[in-house]
Amino acid sequence: MSVPADSERGLLEAVRRIAEEVAAAAADDVDRNARFPAEALEALRGAGALSAAVPEALGGQGASLETIARCCFELGRRCSSTAMVFAMHQIQVLTIARHLDGAPWFESYLRELHQEQRLIASATSEVGTGGDMSRSIAAATPEGEGVLSFEKQAPTVSYGAHADDLLTTLRRTPDAEPGDQVLALTKSGQAELEPAGAWDTLGMRGTCSPGFLVRARFASEQVLAAPFAEVMNQSMVPLSHILWSHVWLGIATDAFERARAFLRASARRRPGEPLPAAARLSHVMAELTLLRGEVSQALHDFQADDVDDRARLMTMASVLRFNNLKLAASEHAPSVCAGALEVVGIVGYRNDTPYSVGRHLRDALSARLMVANERLHATDAALLLIAKEP
């Protein structure tokens, strides 16, 4: 890993402090009440962290993906929901920044995002297409005089009620095919989100991600001009899998640390007595090490292709690579949490001890559903027939 610049180290330090002092303190309450982690988001705004990925030329910090990923990991260790909100927001900002291609509306939007520390939610999944980002039903509909509108049934919009702006996938026109898509950014006054149901879930409760019927009217320059296939393959999908995985790695790491702290405390209480659970924890550590290796290797692979030749991110080999990251991370992170639970036993199963890991396990289980793993396997099953490298 390269050494981050001073400003980036400052950002990482600030986020780590917010994770430890603000997010950690509220995590149980956020989880119990399925409420938005407002205090952590306020603190992140105060540190200017919501514009970390905005290029310096547009007023932001232009932080590297490594630093942003590291921030996701640090937040994930303390409050999964805060970390996932932060990660999703950074994915939308990076997507815009990487594909705006000099468009004046998007440049001034990012300046504004920096000044006002605006938060972006996303509506890519849809009732009828599920987690398949490459197809849409809702369409950008011309209303005359450069105005567009859409109506989209979004099954899950994280922090939809708390975000300033919304990034939405749409068909290019009302008569376009489902795969002929664009990405539109609408601002708070332009989109109306009518809640469709509540968010009372097993985990990731603080992401507050119910369904919404979204209705919006906006100017045509709020549609990103870059071809959607490029936006999806060079940014949205690989960046989602990389930053989500850092969040899940953070959750798994904290579950492991709690189990280790529990065993240390037991060992101190009864010095010299056998500690059979330590062997079980050694197995958990081995799995965590594997998970950490894959998560950092994937980040490294992405950056190598991104710097070298961004077109390589368009290949099927690249799709397979970052799908495999998501599959591995989403299976191993909950497995590490379940292992930690077995090590700690009933003390970890209880929700009110310093060694509780139930929340970690519940939060980490969302990873497999956040775009269903079987859906990714179905895609990979087709691609592996034609791709040449393993």
Binding site: G179, A317, K388, E389
Partner: protein, 93 residues
Amino acid sequence: MNDDTRTVIRRVLREHARLPVDVDTLGDDADLFAAGMTSHASVNLMLALEDAFDIEFPDRMLTRGVFDSVSAIAAAITELSGDGEPSAAGGGT
């Protein structure tokens, strides 16, 4: 580039691309994905093209852009096979 290659490409498209429209209504430069080809169908198309032209597309060429029109496919095949003729020779490694 010759007409023969394009004829074979169109035959393969008709059999494997599962387009909602007749391929003959599309020009050589028409975007096949915009015309409704799914990513899943595009993989079957690639396999069928490898078979029909006895070639192997290397990973660097396996991108959506290389298969998004009759012309783009023809250019890729020419690059790989030298002459763009459907043939039983060469190809692969």
